[in-house]
């Protein structure tokens, strides 16, 4: 009995037609070995389809690949999830490395970097500005709270001191502030 052999793959792929398709189906009806082989090939094909669907939606993989060392050899990314790594190597069109732009030229990444620079520059300018203002304002006087500028009224104080000390008032170092001159 001749088994289907290479025709099983063509049958699964829908490449047989006419008398060849009838003969293949008639053989499968009576041959358990070829049915089993055909079932195995179908299952394998479904697995491969599922694999490709996963890779096409995995943005994380793409980002990780973009960060990978450019010296890595070209080829598909090994996956621990899926068996049959060799099938992926046969399908380079699904390799997400093909989608990766040249390093440092990703527009989205460039926009994010520029935003960070602007943010950090603004923060730095704010801190430096506030620090400079605080340093300047913190220099005069000894109190944390601003207060009035005082010019002691020595004339008034001197008279009060004289009242208590039983002595004559002392003159101010300059002309009496706001005072009255003698006639």
């Amino acid at each position: 009995m001749n088994h289907l052999g290479e025709q099983i793959s063509a049958l699964i792929d829908g490449e047989l037609a006419g008398a060849d398709l009838d003969r293949a189906n008639a053989h499968l009806a009576g041959c358990g070995r070829c049915r089993a082989e055909a079932a195995e090939l179908r299952q394998l094909k479904r697995d491969l389809r599922a694999l490709f669907d996963f890779n096409s939606d995995d943005g994380l993989t793409g980002r990780l690949l973009a960060m990978a060392d450019p010296d890595l050899p070209e080829g598909p990314v090994p996956s621990r999830r899926l068996p049959g790594e060799q099938y992926r190597r046969e399908l380079p069109s699904y390799d997400s490395r093909d989608k990766r732009p040249p390093r440092g030229r990703n527009p989205a990444r460039t926009r994010r970097s520029r935003g960070r620079y602007v943010l950090w520059s603004a923060i730095s300018l704010f801190v430096i500005g506030v620090g400079t203002a605080a340093f300047t304002m913190g220099g005069a006087g000894g109190s944390a709270a601003p207060g009035p500028k005082i010019t002691p009224q020595l004339e008034m104080f001197s008279v009060e001191h004289a009242m208590i000390s039983g002595d004559v008032p002392v003159p101010e170092p300059t002309e009496p502030a706001g005072g009255v001159t003698s006639p």
């Binding site: 506030v130 620090g131 203002a133 605080a134 340093f135 300047t136 304002m137 913190g138 220099g139 005069a140 006087g141 000894g142 109190s143 944390a144 709270a145 601003p146 207060g147 009035p148 500028k149 005082i150 010019t151 002691p152 009224q153 020595l154 004339e155 008034m156 104080f157 001197s158 008279v159 009060e160 001191h161 004289a162 009242m163 208590i164 000390s165 039983g166 002595d167 004559v168 008032p169 002392v170 003159p171 101010e172 170092p173 300059t174 002309e175 009496p176 706001g178 005072g179 009255v180 001159t181 003698s182 006639p183």
Partner: protein, 375 residues
């Protein structure tokens, strides 16, 4: 209650006064320079005259000082006082015309530099008090003297050309602190010399001319001068309580000063820049008035000399010292030795140059106070 007593300095001095000052001032300065630097206080012994005979010397001396304090208020006199003293900024001489009768005192004070230029110094007292004594002899201060010193009657001498009784004040260790000349007839003080603990003469106050009894009319300016507003002082009934209350709300007021000067009176007043508190500390001989008000010292006050005292930068004019610290401005008027003044300045808050972190922290607080509408 005593009437309102304006203190007025008149612009003119007579030729006699000018001559007396011209001769006396350099002499006193020379005496201060010589005695203060090199020689201990001279010892004046009693000339042999005895008063009363039966009282112990110390008790007699204190009684004489008490009588002198009362006489300074009750007697009528006029004359010219000369005050030469050491301060942290150097020697200072003050000439003052004094006219006193019936509780009214009129003074015209100028320093020696002002005599030549005839630039008068005018001040007023708008309260109901006037100088209670002469040369630091008031009833209150005499009471304090009795607690800190021993007064010893030393006999008689001369002062301002008049017979005088001499009373010395000694510290508990026996060193001479001061010497008084009291007019033998009226008991009004005629002269006072004060010495520091190193026996150096730190101040000398004396009448260079004095007249008792029939006086010339009071200076006309005394009757025409209007009292300026805003200088009313309200005495605190319990000075220590006022200090405690203010310290609880952020003030930094000492309960006593170095040099054994306890707080003995306090008063407060309102000025255009806020409240001013006057604290007086004394042992009866040295008197320190400390005026404290919130704020910061205006930069470069005119006429004041910046010096280092007590390890801090302060401004000095004669016996007056001003500085700021901790958000307050301190003005100290001291009838005390430079040694005591320096100790007091060192003991009170001072503004020091902050480090970078402290300066930024302080500035941030100030910025916060500006932008925070609830502060």
């Amino acid at each position: 209650m005593m009437p309102a007593l304006p203190l007025v300095r008149r612009p003119r001095l007579g030729l006699l006064i000018a001559a007396a000052v011209t001769i006396t001032v350099p002499s006193l300065l020379a005496i201060l320079a010589l005695v203060g630097h090199e020689q201990p206080a001279p010892v004046v012994r009693a000339s042999g005259t005895s008063l009363g005979g039966g009282s112990p010397p110390s008790g007699l001396g204190m009684r004489l000082l008490g009588k002198s304090a009362a006489a300074g208020t009750a007697a009528s006199y006029q004359g010219v006082e000369l005050i030469a003293q050491r301060s942290v900024s150097g020697p200072q001489t003050i000439v003052s015309e004094v006219w006193h009768r019936g509780g009214l005192t009129v003074t015209q004070t100028s320093d020696t530099g002002m005599v030549a230029s005839s630039q008068p110094y005018v001040s007023y007292d708008v309260g109901d008090r006037s100088p209670e004594g002469v040369f630091g002899l008031t009833k209150t201060l005499v009471a304090l003297l009795g607690k800190h010193y021993v007064a010893v009657y030393q006999g008689t001498g001369l002062a301002a050309g008049r017979p005088a009784l001499i009373v010395e004040l000694n510290r508990p260790d026996g060193s001479l602190a001061a010497r008084f000349w009291l007019d033998k007839q009226t008991m009004v003080p005629l002269r006072r010399d004060v010495y520091d603990t190193s026996a150096r003469l730190v101040s000398q106050e004396a009448f260079v001319q004095v007249q008792f009894g029939a006086l010339t009319p009071a200076p006309t300016a005394a009757a025409t001068v209007a009292a300026p507003a805003g200088s009313q002082w309200a005495a605190a009934p319990v000075p220590a309580l006022l200090v405690t209350q203010l310290n609880q709300v952020g003030w930094q007021l000492p309960a006593a000063l170095p040099g054994g000067l306890p707080l003995y009176t306090a008063a407060r007043s309102q000025t255009g820049t806020g409240q001013v508190v006057d604290l007086c500390y004394s042992d009866g001989l040295s008197v320190v008035s400390l005026f404290v008000q919130r704020g910061t010292l205006a930069p470069k006050p005119a006429g004041w000399q910046q010096v280092s005292a007590g390890g801090h930068q302060v401004y000095v004019a004669g016996q007056s010292v001003i500085w700021s610290g901790g958000g307050f401005v301190y003005t100290m008027l001291a009838d005390a030795s430079p040694q005591v003044v320096t100790q007091v300045v060192a003991a009170l808050p001072q503004d020091t140059a902050p480090g970078v972190i402290e300066r930024i922290r302080r500035g941030l607080e100030r910025l916060g106070a500006i932008v925070d509408p609830f502060r």
